[in-house]
């Protein structure tokens, strides 16, 4: 992969990352306690657990390494690391 291709990957990654941040309140309403996969500023898959989500991503012909995955916590759920 060339430097130019990686810069393009970064632009897509940053765009999808911004998309999640912009839409996170909406996602909290629609997808609480679910995993979502985002690519090209679209939610391309939703799953009750991570592995189901990745299976759905693969079934759609998308390489899992090219999606961003976000777990959407429930309203009363705070995740500490």
């Amino acid at each position: 992969m060339t430097e130019q291709q990686i810069i393009i990957e970064f632009k897509e990654l940053e765009s999808d990352s911004n998309f999640i941040s912009e839409k996170v309140e909406e996602f909290s309403q629609r997808y609480a306690k679910k995993f979502i996969a985002v690519k090209d500023r679209q939610v391309v898959a939703v799953g009750d657990n991570f592995e189901m989500l990745i299976e759905e991503v693969k079934q759609k012909g998308i390489n899992p390494s090219q999606v961003l995955v976000q777990y959407i916590p429930a309203k009363d759920e705070i995740i500490l690391y």
């Binding site: 810069i7 970064f10 940053e14």
Partner: protein
């Protein structure tokens, strides 16, 4: 040299996020890392390890991690994880450093619930990331800006 960070608020919890591109052989891909100044070590999450198809058998076990909750989390050590960052001048910085990764096969052996819980935890940037790469971290929540600055 400056690397912009994303400030994301999910249900009242603020996360500071760094976009990164993994250049590990056969494990190229996009990752979002959450800055965790309470973590001494950088840890590639179970979810990102699965998504990037990390070859778990290629790496040695490291001391399991103790955190919140019951038990310990088994981890592996990647001695020189290679990755790129995208700076605010639209250029790439290629870096490498040792990181821990969640040992997904061993976590899976401990049961599906343990794996489900592990995959809710994102990849975390620990203090070693800042120290090893000479980064200063700036967060201005009131101005809605956050970035890493590399000290040359």
């Amino acid at each position: 040299m400056r690397f912009n960070l994303e400030i994301r608020k999910i249900d009242g919890s603020i996360r500071i996020i760094l976009p990164l591109f993994s250049r590990q052989p056969r494990s190229f891909g996009r990752i979002e890392l959450v800055i965790d100044t309470g973590a001494p070590k950088t840890i590639l999450s179970a979810g990102d390890a699965i998504r990037l198809n990390i070859p778990f058998t290629n790496f040695e076990s490291a001391t399991p991690l103790t955190g919140l909750g019951k038990g310990k989390t088994p981890v592996l050590l990647i001695k020189d994880f290679t990755f790129s960052l995208h700076n605010s001048d639209e250029k790439l910085s290629n870096l490498s450093m040792p990181i821990l990764i969640a040992d997904v096969p061993r976590i899976r052996n401990e049961g599906q619930e343990k794996l489900n819980n592990a995959t809710r935890i994102p990849t975390l940037i620990g203090m070693d990331f800042l120290e090893n790469n000479n980064f200063d971290l700036f967060i201005g929540l009131n101005k809605n800006i956050a970035y890493l600055e590399k000290v040359e």
